[in-house]
Symmetry: C2
Subunit: 110 residues, 2 copies
């Protein structure tokens, strides 16, 4: 049984690398094979394959075997989890900001 924390760890970790974010962008709208995905990058196919594995572990993409080849496509759910976490805390951010001005003032004229 995998905890919510572990899922969020994996999701945010997956998003914390620009190559992986770019791969997600590349997959926006259309699925693609590993080779296609790797071509534009100045990096071995192997490295891309590892990045895809990280994305898959986080639940951000799925891979489907297609005979010789392998198709990757975006998976729903994981990104929504990240979004939910952020949205939840953004409301605190906002509410704290309402009180922030007074807080700062109260300190600055000590």
């Amino acid at each position: 049984m995998i905890s919510e924390d572990e899922r969020l760890d994996a999701i945010f970790h997956a998003l914390s690398n620009r190559t992986r974010r770019q791969l997600l962008a590349d997959l926006s709208g259309r699925p693609a094979r590993v080779n296609e995905l790797a071509r534009p990058y100045d990096m071995s196919v192997n490295a891309i394959s590892k990045h895809l594995f990280v994305l898959e572990k986080a639940g951000l993409i799925e891979r489907r075997q297609e005979g010789n080849s392998q198709t990757c496509l975006l998976a729903p759910g994981a990104l929504a989890d990240a979004d939910a976490w952020i949205s939840h805390y953004r409301q605190y951010w906002t509410s704290q900001l309402q009180g922030l001005a007074q807080f700062v003032e109260s300190r600055e004229d000590r």
Copy 2:
């Protein structure tokens, strides 16, 4: 000059650790000093201090020197950036899903 990619790297990296996410939760609503924050954790103050540094570098919190002590509080902006990135791609997720059923079908009855 710090690139957008570097900012997002830092923000998502900061969010990828459950202790740091919890620290942000702890700061929800009220600022707190490093010692206060560290107390509930089974971890040295030093470790917490490092986590706070990561959060600060990502622009998620600010620290204000208060004489001997040090007050941490949430900072606006960074979380909004993460939110913006995710929101942008969620729309692709959704639109891709609309076409996914057909795609899967077209492959499965080959």
